[in-house]
């Protein structure tokens, strides 16, 4: 048990499937007997906006959100979102990034530039692990499981065993997709 609450954040672009990932996280922590709080974004921001999910676990969790300078693990499903939320990490926090670029509207319309060298810059101040999960998922034959590959990579930095993760995934995802999701998890876990 943690006497200090642990903080995890999942950030991405609305529609990328952050909610499934947070459901798996919530399930594994409750099974381990922790007090858990998760906070999600629904509604308008889900339409392609910047979305963030907070997950906190420990003996007794009060506030449901993770704030600036408090995240132990930051899981970013997109590069720009990693940069947007990097200041939420603790100094010794770990940053997991899906190396994918999705242009926000100000970039699409040419009003602003998508920053170059995000991962290189972040690596100067943070511990960064990255994967092109979209590409890996495509190779596996199902582009939708990219988020579980990213989760697999992040899982190495949390306090649960591989078997615990696999069994929770089995319980959480739709029955038809159990196998591909397990494979996707192991792909990320093995990186």
């Amino acid at each position: 048990m943690h006497d200090v609450t642990k903080n995890i954040m999942i950030v991405g672009v609305g529609g990328q499937g952050t909610l499934l990932t947070s459901r798996i996280l919530g399930a594994i922590m409750t099974r381990a007997g922790y007090d858990v709080k998760l906070s999600e974004v629904h509604g308008m921001a889900q339409r392609g906006g910047s979305v963030v999910t907070f997950v906190r676990y420990g003996d007794r969790v009060y506030e449901p959100i993770v704030e600036e300078g408090q995240a132990d693990v930051l899981i970013a499903f997109e590069r720009l979102e990693a940069l947007r939320y990097a200041h939420f990490l603790k100094k010794d926090g770990v940053l997991i990034v899906n190396d994918q670029r999705i242009d926000p509207m100000p970039v699409v319309t040419g009003a602003e530039q998508y920053p170059e060298g995000i991962l290189e810059d972040l690596a100067k101040t943070h511990t960064v692990y990255s994967v092109d999960a979209g590409d890996e998922a495509l190779k596996m034959g199902n582009p939708k499981v990219f988020n579980i590959i990213v989760l697999g990579l992040a899982a190495k930095h949390m306090d649960f065993s591989k078997d615990e993760w696999l069994s929770v995934i089995e319980e959480t995802v739709p029955p038809k997709t159990v196998e591909i999701n397990k494979q996707a998890f192991l792909k990320g876990y093995g990186l």
Binding site: V13, G14, G15, G26, A27, T30, D35, V36, K37, L38, S39, E40, V41, H42, G43, M44, A45, Q46, R47, G48, G49, S50, V61, Y62, E63, P64, I65, E67, E68, G69, L80, E81, L83, R84, A86, H87, I102, D103, P104, M105, P106, V107, V108, T109, G110, A111, E112, Q113, Y114, P115, G134, P143
Partner: protein, 579 residues
């Protein structure tokens, strides 16, 4: 007992189940929608989507009058629509318990204003209960039903976005066996004519006084004694931030925020050296505490705007925070999805330089770049009536280059009466009903024109074109939202007409379940003249390459063909996916 991690809104549905609720009615609205979506898991409860919150509230009133426990749920602005029945239901009281769950949205995650439901509770003289996590959401709802029946009053349980959309551990209990009460004719209580209402008004005032006194001993109001140098009076999610930042302080945690249990407040305040009132949005508790002559610190250091957090409290108390600066990065505002039919309609409006009076839904996003066609948005149903007001103010010619745009669900919510008004009062404007076969923004709920009920049954689907014709509108035209040529032709024709006309733009929401997208759009770089026309509608699946040609993300593209229709050079082709 089984424990489960539950979304606040799912916990409220569970609470309704455990409280023995029999009837629930609602209209979808972030952050309240998931309450009804979870209620369908309990076949013991009849639940429905009503066309709007007023109807939902009245359905619940009727069910309560008949003698069963009933509830309705809505977002904060939904309570404005339902406030007409609410104010008088307050006089009538209940037979079976009656609770309104109303979800506020501090920080405006998905709303048009930041109003505080506690103020409506005070104005309508209805008690307001406020939980602070999922477990409390479930238990406080059950307690609200007990209060409702004990004090013969409707009860508002107020939640916020952060509560409804946070998950926490909940202990599952059994459904209580609440026997139906008999219905007894009682016009003194159930018919609010002036003679009856005068007497009931006096009862309502007495009821509030009694509840304020009894509130001293309600288990949902509690004092957590700690260091008495600093004390907080707080409620709801704000309580969690106090515990996070000042675990040593004394706290009066109010579960009932209206009426204020004043004797408990006085008892707490007299022991505390420095008293803070920490409440999101308006100073509802603070002003009453001050009126009691108690010195306290509140909105002079805590904002009335936006959502609270632990860091916000730390900063307000001048506690040290070690926060790095945020990187300066391009914003990522919400946008219309790839394959969204609204984008195509707005592209046609833009081409014709038409202005749009807008409404509430995903299509409000037509107000921002790159579409920039929607110029007004007030509340549900307002597009049609604001257009009408403009015409009456400035004349027929003025609205020849205006249209109203309203979604199918919003039209059925409160647009119908506005359209009736246009016909009745001889307007000449054009109304576009953007019919995407669902309530889109809140996550695809059925409505009266989809042919499905909340509980999944097939039902009669209201025929929207026939409904408009029945009002006496001769020109009701249906057009595919994705057919640019036809859209442009119809819009030119209908806006020129000096009588009310309705254009129903039809195409399902791109995210609606069960849809098949057989096509993908692909650029043909050799034909591309690099003019950027395909980029103008702002589809997130299309980006510009460094050489000026375009890239279409094949995973995101739904093959709607809008970009291909924008291209004069045939440089985008639509092909069967996988070919």
């Amino acid at each position: 007992m089984e424990k489960k991690v539950m979304l606040g809104n799912a916990a409220i549905a569970r609470g309704a189940y455990e409280a023995g609720v029999k009837v629930s009615a609602a209209y979808p609205g972030t952050p309240s929608t998931e309450i009804s979506e979870n209620l369908v898991n309990y076949p013991e409860i009849y639940c429905e989507w009503s066309p709007n919150e007023k109807v939902a509230c009245e359905v619940a009133i009727g069910a309560s009058m008949s003698g069963v426990r009933a509830m309705c749920s809505m977002k904060h602005v939904g309570l404005n629509v339902a406030s007409d029945p609410l104010y008088t239901a307050s006089y009538i009281g209940v037979n079976g318990g009656f609770v309104l769950v109303v979800a506020d949205d501090p920080g405006l995650y998905s709303s048009q204003n930041e109003q505080d439901t506690r103020m409506i509770g005070r104005a309508s003289m209805v008690p307001v209960i406020e939980p602070s996590d999922s477990e409390e959401a479930k238990e406080f709802l059950k307690y609200s039903f007990e209060l409702s029946e004990k004090y013969d009053t409707p009860v508002i349980m107020r939640t916020t976005t952060r509560l409804g959309h946070s998950q926490g551990v909940v202990t599952l209990k059994d459904r209580e066996d609440i026997p139906d009460k008999p219905y007894e004719k009682n016009i003194q209580k159930n018919v609010m004519m002036p003679g009856m209402a005068k007497k009931r008004h006096l009862y309502v005032e007495e009821r509030l006084k009694k509840m304020a006194e009894d509130g001293h001993d309600f288990p949902i109001n509690r004092i957590e004694w700690g260091d008495k140098k600093v004390g907080f009076i707080t409620s709801g999610i704000a309580y969690q931030y106090v515990k996070e930042v000042c675990p040593e302080a004394s706290v009066l945690k109010l579960g009932m925020v209206h009426p204020l249990p004043k004797s408990l407040v006085a008892e707490f305040a007299k022991e505390i050296e420095t008293l803070y009132i920490f409440e999101e949005l308006e100073p509802v508790i603070e002003e009453q505490v001050r009126a009691m002559g108690i010195k306290c610190i509140g909105k002079e250091i805590f904002t009335v705007q936006g959502e609270y957090s632990a860091n916000m409290l730390r900063k307000a108390l001048n506690k040290e925070t070690d926060i790095a600066d945020a990187a300066k990065v391009p914003a990522r505002p919400p946008i219309l999805c790839p394959g969204c039919p609204h984008r195509s309609v707005y592209t046609a409006l833009k081409k014709l330089k038409l202005h749009a009076a807008g409404d509430i839904g995903c299509y409000t996003l037509g107000a921002v770049a790159p579409l920039n066609v929607v110029e007004t948005a007030v509340c549900m149903g307002s597009s049609i009536s604001t257009l009408h007001g403009m015409e009456k103010a400035k004349g027929k010619e003025y609205v020849r280059d205006w249209v109203a745009v309203i979604g199918d669900s919003t039209f059925l919510h409160t647009g119908v009466n506005s359209l009736m008004n246009m016909v009745y009062n001889k307007a000449t404007g054009t109304v576009l009903i953007l019919d995407n076969s669902t309530t889109g923004m809140t996550g695809h709920q059925d409505h009266a024109a989809t042919g499905k009920t909340l509980m999944g049954e097939s039902t009669y689907a209201i025929d929207i074109p026939a409904l408009c014709r029945a009002m006496g509108i001769e020109h009701v035209v249906c057009v595919s939202s994705f057919d640019q040529e036809e859209l442009v032709r119809v819009l030119k024709e209908e806006t020129a007409r000096e009588e009310v006309s309705v254009v129903i733009c039809q195409a399902p929401c791109a995210l609606l379940k069960g849809q098949v997208f057989p096509y993908k759009c692909r650029p043909l770089p050799e034909k591309c003249m690099k003019c950027g026309a395909c980029l103008r509608p702002g589809c997130p699946a299309i980006t510009k390459n460094s050489d000026g040609t375009v890239y279409i993300n094949q995973t995101m593209c739904n093959g709607c063909n809008l970009c291909a229709q924008m291209c004069k050079f045939g440089a985008i082709e639509r092909v069967l996916a996988g070919k």
